[in-house]
């Protein structure tokens, strides 16, 4: 019991922290719901990878999932080229459409092997408690991969997030940065979904940056703040959920984030009123 708690906590901290770091560029680019889109669009790729290869191994499933998720992300812009499609419509259509496709494929599997479907099922709702150490190592690995991708590009990212046109003019390869960010989100959400489920994964990529935003003004500060907040929320959520049997961990992490968000903005609002009165 103890080692599984530690394993879960470690995995969750790495995943949440990674998601928190990625939530910052998403907030600055006003693409907060990209995480939600990716979470839902993972499903068809996940099921498809299994259908094609017959192997239920994390690496294969991950590749398939990331593939369809990335395609969905890339479809946002072309869809909005139509004069009657707006950003919210494109997002809603892709989220629900990709998910429907995934559930459809999943149901096709159902008539062949029941046990198999149950295994893929856990990706939908997420299950922290049932996780193996293998997934934890994947989480750590992906965390190191993405942070390793961010660190050498920090200054380029800084300019790009602040002023994309200026970045282009300075010769920064903004395409590479965008693709990198997209892949990073797909990988991070893929891991997050296994722990907290499809619906809640989005929260990990929205809340942390929001919570840090009123208190920090620099990009680096936002990153550090968001990372710290996510890690703390992961620990808090895990701890709370283990207090009572049958309590799901993922939702408690999200609720922790929601509570932190409320505290953060309540304090900010109070501070503003206090200084206004002076």
């Amino acid at each position: 019991m103890n080692s599984s708690l530690i394993g879960v906590a470690i995995g969750l901290v790495f995943i949440a922290t990674l998601a928190g770091i990625l939530s910052v560029p998403l907030l600055l680019r006003r693409q907060a719901l990209s995480g939600d889109l990716v979470a839902h669009a993972l499903l068809p790729g996940l099921v498809g990878a299994f259908m094609i290869t017959g192997i239920k191994e994390t690496s294969i499933l991950l590749m398939g999932a990331v593939f369809t998720a990335w395609i969905a992300l890339r479809l946002l812009a072309p869809l909005q080229k139509h004069p009657r499609i707006k950003s919210d419509g494109a997002m809603a259509v892709l989220i629900s459409g990709a998910y429907a496709l995934g559930v459809f494929m999943l149901s096709l599997l159902q008539k062949t092997e029941n046990a198999t479907q149950a295994g893929l099922d856990r990706y939908l709702l997420g299950s922290a408690a049932a996780l193996q150490w293998q997934e934890v190592w994947w989480a750590v690995g992906i965390f190191l991969l993405i942070v390793g991708g961010i660190l050498p590009n920090v200054s380029a990212l800084q300019l790009w997030l602040f002023d994309p046109d200026q970045a282009k003019m300075r010769g920064i390869n903004t395409h590479r940065l965008e693709r990198g960010l997209e892949i990073g989100i797909c990988l991070a959400v893929m891991m997050a979904v296994q722990f907290v489920g499809i619906v809640l994964a989005a929260a990990l990529l929205i809340a942390p940056a929001l919570i840090a935003r009123p208190w920090v003004n620099s990009l680096l500060g936002l990153w550090i703040g968001a990372a710290a907040i996510s890690a703390f929320a992961a620990l808090t959520g895990t701890w709370i959920s283990f207090q009572s049997a049958g309590m799901p961990t993922g939702p408690w992490i999200v609720l922790s984030l929601a509570i932190f968000c409320t505290i953060s903005y309540a304090c900010w609002y109070a501070k503003r009123i206090f200084f206004q009165a002076k």
Binding site: P83, R84, K86, Q276
Partner: protein
């Protein structure tokens, strides 16, 4: 009798003060311009006059009810990709006054037809608003206000982003309408043609700097004071100066 008379109006959006102790009058009839630099509270004043906003303090006296005022907002307040034809937009305020089980009255059809003709939109009646240029969109907004046939028209920057021929045409429309006895109040965003356009002026810089007939109020020193620039150089545009 002044159409609008307002006293010590204060208004702020969160931390930003838009209007402070603004007082002035707008006479009945003719074309009144509300001018001033960016952020001087022009749109805010207009919205307060037609009842869309309530001032934090101060009083307003109006000789007509808001239901007798046609308000033309800035163009970007509307999503122009909305599915609708030019005619449908122009008749929208009239159509809603007819219950769904009744046919549209002939007078309403006439008003719409006339408004479209006045603004040069007759050929565009069945075009989707999505397919319109900025100038055409502005015509639609004005046609919609005209179709209502109300005694007072309030317009917020109707010539912003509109090309010169369209502006000239639309101004003619407003002038005709004013000559028919309606009152036109207009927020204008630039300094050109002010003496030609407006019979009366309110010069605003969060408070009313000047208010009255253009002939009395408009001069280069005022400009320099309000806008912080000196527009008139020695050899320039003598016809812009008030004789």
């Amino acid at each position: 009798m002044n159409l609008f008379s307002f006293n010590s109006i204060d208004f702020q959006y969160r931390q930003v003060v838009a209007l402070t102790q603004a007082s002035g009058v707008i006479p009945t009839g003719g074309i009144t311009g509300i001018i001033g630099p960016n952020g001087s509270g022009k749109s805010t004043l207009l919205k307060i006059l037609c009842g869309l906003l309530k001032p934090a303090s101060g009083t307003i006296e109006t000789q007509v009810l808001p239901s007798q005022m046609a308000y033309v907002a800035q163009r970007q307040t509307v999503d122009w990709d909305y599915p609708a034809t030019v005619k449908e937009v122009v008749e929208m305020p009239l159509a809603i006054q007819t219950p769904w089980y009744k046919r549209k009255p002939q007078s309403q059809v006439e008003s719409v037809h006339q408004a479209l003709a006045l603004t040069g939109l007759t050929d565009f009646a069945d075009r989707q608003i999505q397919a319109l240029s900025g100038g055409q969109q502005q015509r639609v907004f004005i046609a919609r206000a005209l179709a209502l046939n109300l005694p007072v028209l309030l317009l917020d920057e109707p010539f912003a982003g509109v090309d010169a021929p369209t502006e000239a045409h639309l101004f003619q429309v407003l002038k005709t309408v004013a000559e028919q006895g309606k009152t036109v109040v207009m927020v204008h965003h630039d300094l050109s043609a002010i003496p030609r356009y407006f019979d009366h002026l309110i010069v605003l810089k969060n408070t009313v700097i000047a208010n009255g007939p253009t002939a009395k109020v408009w001069n280069p020193d005022l400009l320099a004071q309000v806008f912080g620039i000196s527009l008139f150089q020695k050899s320039n545009a003598p016809e812009e100066l008030i004789p």
